[in-house]
């Protein structure tokens, strides 16, 4: 029925099966929209946040999906600036995934602020000294870049491409994509970094604060670095998942191998930097404020030393070693395990840099603050994930996302 929209020569599942799946995910979207409306109409009292937990699940979700969405800017950087030409076979999907991640982040931020109608104050009355201002500006601009990168893909739809103007527009945008990609990389560098800066500048919070270079705390550079390392892992993770769901090989192994290898090197170097940063913070920064390292990992029922081990060893060192070994990369189970662990690792890092910061008591006469999100918070966090699945599914069905698909599935 919709065969006129499906790219020529490619096989897709039946329309009934496809839209049944979309409907199931759509139900989750509706649940999320209901929660979102509750929050917008009734206010943030719908959440389990409180005055000690001003930043919670949503900010973690924002930081997490932006780190995972980092695959778009870094793959674009490698393809257009460094000139890794093979990556043209995965860049489209990286762009779609990045687009979904950044759209989700924008939506969650719109729900998260207490007075959404005043959201434009962050731009108009910008405090240029605040890391959050830098986040807002670069994030919004970069989302614009992602839209620009996504449009030519849309225009490649069989029916849209028939319109000469759209065909020409798409062609012209492809021609100068390197300029957009470079701007995107520039913006990404700053907003990924400033998201790290958000925690690193909190000098009233010994768990978060870091020394740094000029106005940038070390977390600034660690976040940019980790987004470049772990973002491509998420691209590979979703690609592999798509291959499993569709039952087709979509990207050639040499392309996967190249991206995985680069991610491995980024991750390996990142994790060394992260260990040095943690070591310095634990032995110099924190003690200078009267804290021992274990003060941050004891006296409470959740945040133990396990979380640091999970982040650095399980979600960092192990996936980095797998991705760095040619054997690990060529074994599809090992590769999938590695990129999955990596995604979990970066999500733990973002969690710790938001929620553990809030949980740890700074005044000596206070106790740890623990928080469990309300269902409204959970639903509004799942909402963009479900929405993202729909966007990705529609994009895959109707757009020629994978240039090698036809060749791999004759």
């Amino acid at each position: 029925m919709d065969s006129a929209l499906i790219p020529k020569g490619l096989k897709r599942c039946s329309i009934g099966k496809f839209y049944l799946g979309i409907a199931l995910v759509g139900a989750v979207v509706l649940w999320g929209v209901y929660a979102m409306l509750l929050v917008w109409i009734k206010g943030l009292n719908q959440t389990n946040m409180n005055d000690s937990y001003g930043f919670a699940l949503w900010i973690w979700a924002d930081l997490g999906i932006i780190a995972l969405g980092g695959g778009a800017f870094f793959t674009g950087f490698l393809r257009y600036i460094i000139g890794k030409d093979e990556l043209k076979n995965i860049i489209n999907y990286a762009v779609v995934i990045g687009f979904v991640c950044y759209a989700s982040a924008q939506l969650i931020l719109g729900i998260d602020v207490g007075q959404p109608l005043r959201g434009w104050f962050i731009f108009w009355h910008a405090n240029v000294h605040s890391m959050l201002t830098e986040v807002a500006f670069c994030l919004t601009c970069y989302f614009g870049v992602l839209v620009i990168e996504y449009i030519p893909l849309l225009l490649e739809n069989r029916q849209i491409d028939k319109v000469p103007f759209f065909h020409n527009l798409g062609h012209n945008m492809h021609e100068i994509m390197a300029i957009f990609a470079a701007t995107g990389a520039f913006l990404s560098f700053f907003h990924q970094g400033s998201l790290g800066g958000v925690a690193g500048v909190l000098y009233g919070r010994p768990f978060a604060v870091r020394e740094g270079l000029f106005i940038w705390p070390w977390t600034f550079f660690l976040f940019t670095w980790s987004a470049a390392a772990f973002g491509p892992c998420f691209t590979l993770f979703v690609t592999r998942l798509t291959e499993k769901i569709t039952g087709k090989k979509l990207v050639k192994q040499n392309v996967i191998d190249l991206l995985a290898k680069i991610a491995g090197w980024m991750m390996g170097t990142y994790i060394i930097a992260k260990i040095i940063d943690t070591w310095y913070w634990a032995t110099v920064t924190a003690p200078s404020k009267g804290f021992t390292f274990m003060d941050f990992y004891s006296d409470n029922s959740f945040y133990g030393i396990w979380i640091l081990i999970a982040e650095i060893v399980v979600g960092g060192i192990i996936p980095a070693l797998i991705l760095l070994s040619p054997k690990g990369r060529s074994n599809s189970t090992a590769l999938f395990t590695a990129v999955s662990l990596a995604c979990i690792g970066v999500l733990i890092n973002r969690w710790v840099m938001v929620l553990q910061v809030m949980a740890h008591p700074v005044m000596t006469f206070e106790n740890w603050f623990l928080y469990v999100p309300s269902w409204q918070e959970v639903a509004t966090t799942i909402l963009p994930v479900a929405g993202g699945i729909i966007v990705i599914a529609l994009s895959y069905r109707y757009l020629p996302i994978f240039p090698q698909e036809k060749e791999l599935n004759p």
Binding site: N50, S52, F55, L202, Y203, M363
Partner: protein
Amino acid sequence: MKEEGKHNKKAKKYGMVINLDNCTGCGACMVACMAENNVPFKEDESDKLDSITWMRVYKLANGESYPDADICYLPRPCMHCEGYHGHSPCVSVCPAVATDYNHDTGIVSQIYTRCFGCRYCMGACPYHARYFNWWDPVWPEGMTKYLSPNVSARMRGIVEKCSFCFHRHQLAMDKAFLEGRTELEENEYQTSCTQACPAGAITFGDLNNPHHKVNQMVKPDNKHGGRPGDPNAFRLLERLGTNPKVYYISSKEWVRRAGDNYLANEDRTVQQH
């Protein structure tokens, strides 16, 4: 950020000294603050994690057992941190300039109509002095008549905190202006909690003015981030570098030590000086 007062020799540094030896923990300061500043409340105020208390009295215990057990009450307003040159933890992070450090008075303001409720300042404040309006304020019937006309009520979705009763400063300055003066007497500008304390535990004034009691009580050393000269005086979490303008006095070492974090082998007096 406006920094007119930076090089102004007449710049004030309003601050507070709270003598914990005198504090009985009665909570009159909290009540006075709420009434003075139209602080909203809920029917059930038992969950202190989402109720608004600009001034909050904490109960500290030394953790010893009888007969050495001891407690101390510690009132905690906003510390009006100066940080390093007005770089207070919360002011520097606000993305929309909704909170500002006034270099003329040393007061950290909160602009309710500018705040859009991102709550980054709350995350930045180690004292939990900042509160979010999770609900719109609801006043019991007839109570709106008792609200102070000098302080705007706040709406849902924004952050608020102690302002050192800044409206009182404005009123006092207006009065002085009409009388042809530019300077205030010490007693012309006092916060509500200071006046309400039955034990006289709270003293308020200009820390820069050697004639003011607050200056005489703690002898702040402005060359070294305002650290107190009096050996019994301390500030909360001084080691973080927040440079707060609320000083505490206690004759008990365990209370002074509870004001900040120290490693087990650290000597408090050495670390502070």
